[in-house]
């Protein structure tokens, strides 16, 4: 069971937004997709998923819509807003810079 603290603070938002760039998904599908895409490494706990989604919605980065799911049940689908897309771009840039810097530092020590 991976705790939310396993993820660097704020990266959960980034991951969720990124997952939603492809297509609107409901909560369960998001957690499944995240696990798949990260090759089973990253996993968000069921407990922290929904509060995080609600927070993103409140920020205006994603919006929700009730639609029939793949097995024809009503489910709440989240999709990215324009605002969210912009936020994601900015945050992804930040992340790339940060991770590049960190791996640079780590390689330096190995050398």
């Amino acid at each position: 069971m991976s705790k939310p603290s396993d993820l660097v603070q704020g990266t959960l938002d980034l991951l969720l937004l990124k997952i939603l760039t492809l297509e609107p998904l409901h909560g369960f599908a998001i957690s499944v997709r995240l696990k798949q895409v990260s090759g089973d490494i990253l996993q968000v706990s069921d407990g922290s998923l929904y509060p995080a989604l609600h927070k993103l919605e409140q920020e205006g980065w994603i919006k929700s819509e009730w639609k029939p799911s793949e097995n024809n049940r009503r489910a709440k689908f989240y999709s990215l807003t324009r605002l969210g897309r912009r936020h994601l771009e900015r945050e992804a840039d930040n992340w790339n810079r940060l991770s590049a810097a960190i791996s640079h530092v780590i390689k330096l020590e190995e050398a």
């Binding site: 929904y50 919605e57 807003t81």
Partner: protein, 876 residues
């Protein structure tokens, strides 16, 4: 960016708030859907049915907790908490109507009084002047003459318009009784300086504002409505003012306003009064300077200083020692009253403080009775932050209710203030409850609720809880923190109330002293009024003198009446000064001769007024036009210019009289309180209308002593007057006692307000003491029961309680005396005849407070004394 975020978040938030059930249901559905999916996943992985459900639930780590987190993420719970707190507060307050009413009334008194005074402060001091870009408006501390203004205009660059105006009475004749109206005689530039256009028609142009120009008049809005019924076709019609016909060319907008006496019409000074307009030495114009946009005051001041020096060197006789210095117009208008309004504001602030202390004390008392409830809630896990928030909600609700009630009181208060008509306060007529008053009241209420709700809330949660649990087994005297705090509050209330009582006491003492002041003349049975002779028909002095003679003859022919004329009525606010020189004294530089009050009389003025003759002789029938020019001086004149010398026979004349016009002093009369009961008399010279060379002194106040009622007397006076000239209006009809009373209006205004504040403060303090003592007694009931059971008499119990109250009153009283001692000096400018540390007041007032405080203790003390020991001991 921010806006776009709101586009998403605001509808969401509103939905969470107002469609709570739908949102909750969706949240539930969403999580249920998740659980189902998860269950199916586990089923597919081959787990048993009941185990999958349990595992899915475990994964989510507490369904309800997650829901709460989702609500938090939506930012709903905080608001919901607030709504819940509010509902709870409304419910609990409804259950305690006595407490609620007391708290709301207490706060309403404090806040209402503050809002009322603030609306005055706002109207007088804070609101900007009703002129466009009024920050660009300046004035000079002294009046100017028109030639001076013309020079200032020529020699400065930083000013865009220079207006000058003097207000004179003109007679409006036509139909019915002649009416006196006040005419502003101004230059054309005044309108652009003040920044006003006309509502109808136009103002006069610079070309028309010239010597010998057309007689045009601009009406103010009020005058247009009063006299012409707001006739929109008024332009082009004409009116007769003091015998001349004027064509109406425009009407000013309602917003037009001038500091000082209200104006009915505006005419060109150059056209109406060419003689005075040309005279550089007569500085009679109030000035309004508009600086060009972007010009700082400092730069304009430098220019003005240069002009001032130039004028002084160019025209030493007329323009020396004027020290022309530009002042922001607002400072010039309200500068004088600022300190005294601030005293009132401080006083009313103290009232609010007392009200707040009372409020805090009430809440403390209440929280004491609720401690069990609060302790239980805390024990059940309510975080103290939530408890404090809930208590604050209650307190703020109360203070806002108090503020709303206070606003109603303030509305009444403002009406009362207007009834008191403090004539000396400029702009007070604009006082109203406007947006800034509302804002002020709201802010004060909110602050009151938070600050004075925090004290009891904190004392309950932080200090109270543990103590409460330990304490509850036995109630002991003075044991709880709450009680100690309440004693402290009561002491500070007494101290604050004493400061206000002493201030009011000082005002009352100085007011009675003012009333007892001997004005130097007899004020009873004396009717006064003002009559002005229009220039058109009375330019020649021979005509004026003939009028004086006939008028006085007519008045004195009324049975039982003695009458005389004077140019400046005592205590009316009018005065005129002249530079003068004394024969045989070393000559002084032109312009720097001493100034003296000048009053012109006719008839037996001194005996009509009852002003005693101290030396020499009174004016007599031998003093006529053409005979030796004689004057009478007052005692202050002798004291200043002829101390210890015999001056009868000495000669004086107005400075720079051409040809020389020496006036022989023939007598000395007593000083009168010309400037009001509180002000000292200045050196004065009295001369005669029949001998003065000043043909411009065409106004007079008949002073008429007669036993008949003023109404009957006035009728007789008008009859005699209009028998001579039926075109002359009679204005400012007052008995002398009314004039004296009006001269004290200002003091009466301050006194009344401080008196009311002190009364409210005393009442609040009494409520405070009473509350604390009642509480103390309920706390000591069992102790009293034991005492009585052990043989204490009713009297002993009574004294026990009274002694406790007395201690509070003594401590509070001493603090109050000390505070007053430090503070009352700030009101010294409001006092007359006593020091701000007047020992009598400081001695007497605390006894009043002590007596009232003891009375407030007596009621609960008696109740305690009657306690039945059996009941008391059971009381737990």
């Amino acid at each position: 960016m921010r806006f776009e975020r709101w586009l998403y978040s605001i509808p969401l938030r509103l939905r969470s708030l107002f469609r709570r059930e739908a949102v909750e249901r969706e949240l539930d559905d969403e999580l249920q859907f998740h659980l189902e999916q998860k269950t199916q996943q586990y089923l597919a992985a081959g787990l048993s049915a009941e185990e999958t459900r349990r595992k899915a639930l475990r994964d989510i780590e507490g369904l309800e907790l997650r829901k709460e987190e989702c609500r938090d993420a939506r930012g709903v719970s905080r608001l919901e908490d607030f709504v819940r707190d509010l509902r709870f507060a409304v419910r609990t307050l409804r259950k305690a109507p006595g407490f609620t009413l007391t708290a709301v009334v207490t706060l309403a008194l404090g806040i209402g009084a503050n809002a009322a005074i603030f609306s005055v402060v706002n109207a007088v001091l804070l609101r900007s002047l009703p002129f466009p870009n009024s920050e660009q408006l300046f004035t000079l501390s002294s009046n100017q003459s028109l030639p001076d203004l013309e020079d200032i205009q020529k020699r400065t660059n930083s000013l865009s318009a220079i207006g000058g105006i003097t207000v004179q009475a003109l007679a409006l004749t036509g139909e019915g009784e002649p009416v006196q109206i006040s005419a502003g005689q101004c230059n054309a530039d005044l309108f652009s300086a003040l920044g006003f256009q006309t509502a109808i028609g136009r103002t006069f142009t610079a070309a028309e504002d010239s010597y010998g120009g057309p007689a045009l008049v601009v009406l103010t809005n009020g005058f247009w409505i009063r006299f012409f019924g707001a006739d929109s076709a008024i332009v082009g019609k004409s009116i007769r003012l003091s015998g001349n016909s004027y064509t109406i060319i425009g009407v000013l907008p309602r917003e037009f306003w001038l500091p000082g006496r209200p104006v009915d019409v505006l005419v060109s000074l150059r056209v109406t009064n060419p003689l005075a307009a040309k005279f550089r030495g007569v500085h009679f114009l109030k000035t309004y300077f508009r600086a060009k946009t972007g010009i700082p005051l400092a730069q304009a001041r430098v220019e003005m200083q240069d002009v001032d020096q130039w004028l002084a060197s160019q025209y030493p006789e007329e323009d020396r020692d004027f020290h022309r210095r530009l002042l922001p117009l607002r400072d010039a208008i309200v500068g004088d009253v600022r300190p005294e309004l601030l005293v009132l504001f401080a006083a009313v602030g103290l009232v609010l403080l007392i009200a707040c202390v009372n409020f805090a004390s009430l809440q403390l008392a209440r929280s004491a009775t609720r401690q069990r409830e609060i302790a239980i809630r805390a024990a059940l896990g309510a975080p103290s932050g939530r408890l404090i928030r809930q208590m604050l909600t209650e307190s703020v609700l109360l203070s806002l209710l108090g503020g709303a009630a206070g606003l109603v009181l303030a509305g009444l208060g403002v009406r009362l203030l207007m009834e008191l008509k403090p004539a000396g306060l400029p702009r007070i007529a604009n006082t109203s409850i406007d947006a800034s008053v509302l804002g002020f009241t709201f802010a004060v209420s909110l602050l009151t609720g938070i600050v004075f709700g925090l004290v009891p809330a904190l004392s309950t949660t932080f200090f109270g809880l543990n103590a409460k649990l330990k304490e509850d087994t036995r109630t002991t005297a003075g044991g709880s923190t709450g009680y100690r705090l309440r004693k402290l509050l009561a002491v500070s209330e007494i101290a604050l109330a004493l400061v206000l009582l002493i201030s009011a006491g000082l005002m009352i003492r100085s007011f009675t002293l003012l009333h007892r002041v001997d004005p130097g003349f007899r004020t009873d049975n004396l009717l006064t009024m003002r009559v002005e002779l229009p220039e058109a028909r009375y330019r020649e002095q021979a005509k004026q003198r003939q009028f004086h003679r006939e008028f006085l003859e007519g008045l004195n022919a009324i049975p039982g009446v003695q009458a005389a004329l004077v140019s400046e009525l005592p205590m009316s606010g009018d005065y005129i000064t002249h530079n003068f020189v004394i024969e045989g004294r070393p000559p002084l530089a032109a312009g720097s001769e001493p100034e003296v009050q000048t009053r012109t009389v006719e008839g037996d003025y001194f005996s009509v007024m009852g002003i005693p003759l101290l030396a020499g002789r009174d004016f007599g029938s031998e003093d006529r036009t053409g005979s030796l020019h004689v004057v009478v001086v007052n005692r202050a004149f002798v004291a200043q210019y002829f101390p210890g010398q015999d001056l009868v026979g000495a000669r004086v004349q107005w400075a720079r009289s051409k040809p020389p016009d020496w006036m022989t002093i023939v007598g000395v009369v007593g000083d009168i309180k010309h400037f009001g009961p509180g002000k000292p008399e200045e050196p004065a010279i009295y001369d005669l209308y029949s001998q003065t060379a000043q043909q411009w002194k065409r106004w007079m106040y008949p002073t008429i002593r007669g036993a008949a009622s003023p109404g009957i007397l006035l009728g007789q006076v008008k009859q005699r007057l209009w028998a001579i000239d039926n075109q002359l209006p009679v204005t400012q009809v007052f008995t002398m006692n009314e004039v004296v009373a009006a001269s004290l209006d200002h003091q009466r205004f301050n006194l009344t307000l401080l008196g009311i504040f002190a009364g409210v403060a005393l009442a609040l303090a009494v409520v405070g003491i009473y509350g604390v003592m009642s509480y103390a007694i309920t706390q000591r009931t069992s102790e009293i029961g034991i005492r009585v059971a052990l043989g204490a008499q009713q009297r002993d119990v009574l004294w026990l309680i009274l002694g406790q109250g007395l201690r509070l009153a003594l401590v509070g009283g001493s603090l109050g005396i000390a505070a007053s001692f430090a503070l009352t000096r700030y009101m010294s400018h409001l006092l007359y005849g006593i020091s701000p540390r007047d020992p009598q007041t400081f001695f007497a007032i605390p006894f009043v407070l002590l007596a009232v405080a003891l009375l407030a203790c007596y009621v609960p003390a008696r109740r305690a004394a009657r306690v039945d020991p059996i009941v008391a001991l059971r009381y737990e």
